[in-house]
């Protein structure tokens, strides 16, 4: 087997910041080679260099033995390199077949497009690689998993032999992830070379042949997947040993804070999103809701935070310490002592053009302690910001002048959690996907803070699609499927089963699919 991609002493710097320094790497042909590392470790920069989107400041790049110096992705594509970006590059209003052809139509300006060829191709590939998708369907009607298949088909249509996947599982359900991995393995078996960027260690260990770990712009090591364990990888990534599972000391829960009784939710068009949902969250416990995304989590969050769209019909009741939440707006709900960390933090929980300090204030800007006269109390604000920056190890130089957009994703997430977890007088904390997109080093900190909040007697509702997280943190676990809680694991059951995680995962899996 030859070497598909070889990098020799590649460096890339942006101004004073060195994103990649002196990287040497060989990717064998016909293998799945994973690049792992925390946010900002330089994985994306490295792949952008291979894909021709960035030019290295120093060093040499060899593709299939030839030294190359690409100036644009166009060069890379014609050399047989393809990339599936984290955010898909598809046109929603065109059909699958049209999207696959786009930019490579194989037809003159006024000629008929080769629809028949595309359909043949899709059929062959769906058989060989498990890439089923209807060529005539509009892309906007597809699920995320199907859209990803279209992206892969695009690469196959262009005869790419080296395929780069940037965080491909970030948007997939567990089932879709499994399917994707089967596809990747069959592509490898047909001789394709796959470069996989991810930060999920379980996935890497189950699908990759070789793993390169990056940290602070350097390659720390390259190891065969069969000879390494998860804690070892985590340690290479972070540079210190990491607790992958926080200790979760038992705690007796208090009275029920949040009561949801027989909750029903139907949209304006009459779709039933939640049916007869019953649950309660007690003070000092973490109630975990396990479930594949799209089974009613988003709707439950809307109800709890007063953001249901006009025309939604609700039934049953939702009360916080006996007070109904129906008909209240977010400001009223916040003042009742509920804090929400929404799932899509960049869109809903922060203002990216505001400074770090302003974002630490966002949503809490009505609290009297931050006010003085008609304006804000700059002094106490500054003190609070610096305290949180230190406490959560947020990497930023000047909280009061640096815009949030200049921070890495993981640090932005930490700002939201720092703000929400430190709200005074909260009785219910709602956390939706609290560690999505966060580095494993930071996950440890965040999990500790969540357990601390629980120990202080706060009721916590945790919604996460990461079963590991649910198992590690929850006092009780409810399994959400199609808008209904199919099963609830009691306190003792969770404590007991936590020790055999794999089996517990499988058991939960039965109730959520």
């Amino acid at each position: 087997m030859g070497v598909a991609v070889r990098l020799c002493g590649v460096s890339k710097s942006f101004g004073n910041f060195s994103a990649n320094s002196n990287i040497s790497l060989s990717v064998e042909e016909g293998t799945i080679h994973a690049l792992v590392g925390e946010n900002g470790a330089g994985k994306s920069t490295l792949t952008k260099i291979i894909y021709g989107m960035l030019q290295p400041t120093k060093g040499e790049v060899f593709i299939q033995g030839n030294q190359v110096r690409y100036t644009s992705p166009r060069d890379a594509i014609s050399a047989g390199i393809g990339m599936v970006h984290q955010h898909f590059m598809l046109i929603p209003t065109l059909s699958v077949a049209e999207n696959i052809m786009l930019g490579n139509e194989h037809a003159g300006l006024l000629q008929r497009l080769p629809y028949a060829r595309i359909k043949d191709l899709i059929q062959t590939h769906s058989r060989d690689f498990g890439l089923q998708v209807d060529p005539d369907a509009l892309v906007e009607s597809l699920s995320v998993g199907e859209e990803q298949r279209v992206e892969i088909l695009k690469l196959l249509f262009r005869n790419a032999s080296i395929m780069i996947f940037d965080e491909p599982t970030a948007v997939l359900t567990p089932l879709e992830t499994e399917k994707l991995f089967a596809t990747l393995k069959s592509l490898r078996d047909k001789g394709k070379t796959i470069i996989l960027i991810t930060h999920k260690l379980d996935e890497v260990l189950s699908v990759a042949d070789t793993i390169s770990v990056m940290r602070k712009g350097e390659i720390i090591g390259t190891v065969p997947a069969s000879s390494v364990t998860k804690p070892e990888l985590a340690m290479m990534m972070v540079g210190r040993s990491v607790l992958l599972r926080v200790t979760n000391p038992p705690q007796s829960a208090g009275e029920a804070i949040l009561n949801i009784k027989d909750l029903g939710y139907s949209t304006q068009r009459g779709e039933e999103k939640l049916r007869h949902l019953n649950l309660n969250v007690r003070a000092g416990e973490i109630y975990g809701i396990a479930g594949v995304e799209g089974n009613g989590q988003a709707e439950l969050l809307q109800v709890l935070y007063g953001l249901t769209p006009d025309g939604t019909v609700l039934s049953g009741e939702v009360t916080l310490k006996g007070q109904s939440l129906f008909g209240k707006n977010p400001a009223e709900i916040t003042s009742m002592g509920i804090s929400l960390t929404p799932e899509n933090r960049l869109r809903h929980a922060v203002i990216v053009d505001f400074t770090v300090s302003e974002n630490l204030l966002f949503g809490r800007h009505r609290e009297q302690s931050f006010h003085r006269g008609i304006g804000f109390d700059e002094e106490s604000l500054q003190r609070y910001a610096l305290e949180k920056v230190a406490e959560y190890d947020i990497k930023c130089t000047s909280p009061s002048s640096q815009p949030l957009s200049s921070l890495s994703g993981g640090n932005q997430q930490k700002i939201v959690l720092a703000r929400e977890l430190s709200r005074p007088d909260i009785s219910l904390l709602i956390l939706a996907q609290p560690t999505r997109g966060v580095d494993i080093g930071a996950i440890e900190t965040i999990h500790h803070k969540i357990i601390d909040a629980r120990s202080k007697g706060i009721a916590i509702l945790l919604i996460s699609s990461e079963l590991e997280e649910i198992i590690a943190l929850s006092t009780r676990i409810g399994c959400l499927y199609k808008g209904n809680l199919l099963h609830e694991f009691a306190h003792e059951e969770v404590a007991l089963k936590r020790n055999s995680e794999l089996e517990f995962k499988k058991e939960i899996g039965l109730y959520i699919t």
């Binding site: 977010p330 869109r347 809903h348 203002i351 204030l361």
Partner: protein, 342 residues
């Protein structure tokens, strides 16, 4: 390029290139650009009267600039400052003319100013309500409202309130006029600049404090940047859009007070002379920042009055082009600046 230097460089570059392009146009028109600019500079800044004229226009431009800038902070493009200015002018003139002549200045001036502000605010709020309640695009709404304001004031003037054989309303009572600097101190000889010149920077400062120091402004800016996130933060986005439009319209009303109470003392057809549209340019050149608007209004004040003074040498149309070209260049340069920063 850092954020700060870009903020400064972009307007400067756009003004310089606008001057270059306009020199070229003047050359093509067969005149000497240096001579024209010299004459203009002398006529505007070379005498007390000239400076007074510039300051008078600058004051109105600060107000209408703020009328555009505040809605801009919540991502609403208020094209309707002209209509708000017209309604404000008409309201100020009518109120001033109807007040009993015995009323003291301390009551008459505030009443007239409030009337102008209320009229401007109401007119802007029509567009605001259409936007928030029904999702009507505010650009289209404000343009239409400009036509309607023109129609209302024109009809009312011509058919009901014009003094016989004139095109203006009855003058406001003496005590409702805002005194000119020249009558009090003798400086700015006989130019229309009046005491509202003092008010303009104060209002700009007030807007800055509200926007960048108060909770209200914090919520308003958040609404403008990310309306979805604002909702999660418990901020009532619709309320802030209405507030921005309303306060903006009221600022346009202050501009009207400067013209009616400070200078003309009556309402006359075409007296606003498109100043509301120049306000858009003022706000854009300043990047919708209340304090930069002071400088930007000064620049456009020179341009507006300077265009009049060199009328004998070069048609005013050329100066309309210069203004428009400056706006286009500002937009182009700020787009370029954003691209460089990213």
């Amino acid at each position: 390029m850092t954020r700060k230097s870009a903020q400064f460089l972009i307007p400067v570059l756009s003004i310089l290139s606008a001057l270059a392009v306009s020199s070229l146009i003047i050359l093509i028109a067969g005149r000497d650009p240096i001579m024209i600019f010299q004459k203009m500079l002398y006529a505007t800044l070379g005498s007390g009267y000239g400076i007074g004229q510039v300051l008078f226009r600058m004051s109105s431009l600060i107000f209408v600039g703020l009328a555009v800038a505040l809605p801009f902070q919540v991502k609403l493009f208020n094209i309707g400052a002209e209509g708000q200015l017209q309604m404000g002018s008409f309201a100020a003139a009518m109120t001033g003319a109807m007040l009993p002549a015995t009323l003291s200045s301390f009551a008459a001036i505030p009443i007239c100013i409030l009337a102008a502000m209320a009229a401007g605010a109401c007119w802007a709020l029509v567009a605001g309500v259409l936007k928030v309640r029904f999702g009507v695009n505010e650009v289209i709404a404000t343009i239409m409202l400009n036509f309607i304001a023109q129609g209302i004031t024109g009809y009312m003037l011509t058919y009901h309130f014009a003094m016989p054989s004139t095109v203006h309303t009855a003058p406001v009572i003496d005590s409702a006029t805002i005194p000119a600097w020249s009558t009090i101190t003798g400086i700015f000889a006989k130019s229309p600049v009046n005491l509202s010149t003092l008010l303009a920077p104060c209002i700009a400062l007030l807007f800055w404090v509200i926007l960048f120091r108060s909770r209200f402004g914090y919520e308003m800016r958040a609404t403008g940047l990310q309306p979805d996130a604002a909702r999660y933060g418990g901020i009532h986005a619709g309320m802030h859009m209405l507030a921005a439009m309303g306060i903006g319209g009221a600022a346009a009303g202050l501009g009207a007070a400067n013209i009616v109470l400070g200078h003309k003392h009556f309402y006359e057809a075409g007296m606003t002379g498109g100043m509301g549209f120049t306000g858009i340019a003022v706000a854009l050149l300043a990047g919708a920042h209340p304090l930069w608007i002071l400088l930007s209004a000064f620049f456009f004040g020179i341009l507006e009055y300077g265009g009049l003074t060199v009328n004998a040498y070069i048609p005013k149309d050329i100066f309309m082009m210069i203004e428009a070209i400056t706006i286009l260049l500002v937009i182009t340069f700020s787009a370029l600046g954003k691209r460089i920063q990213h």
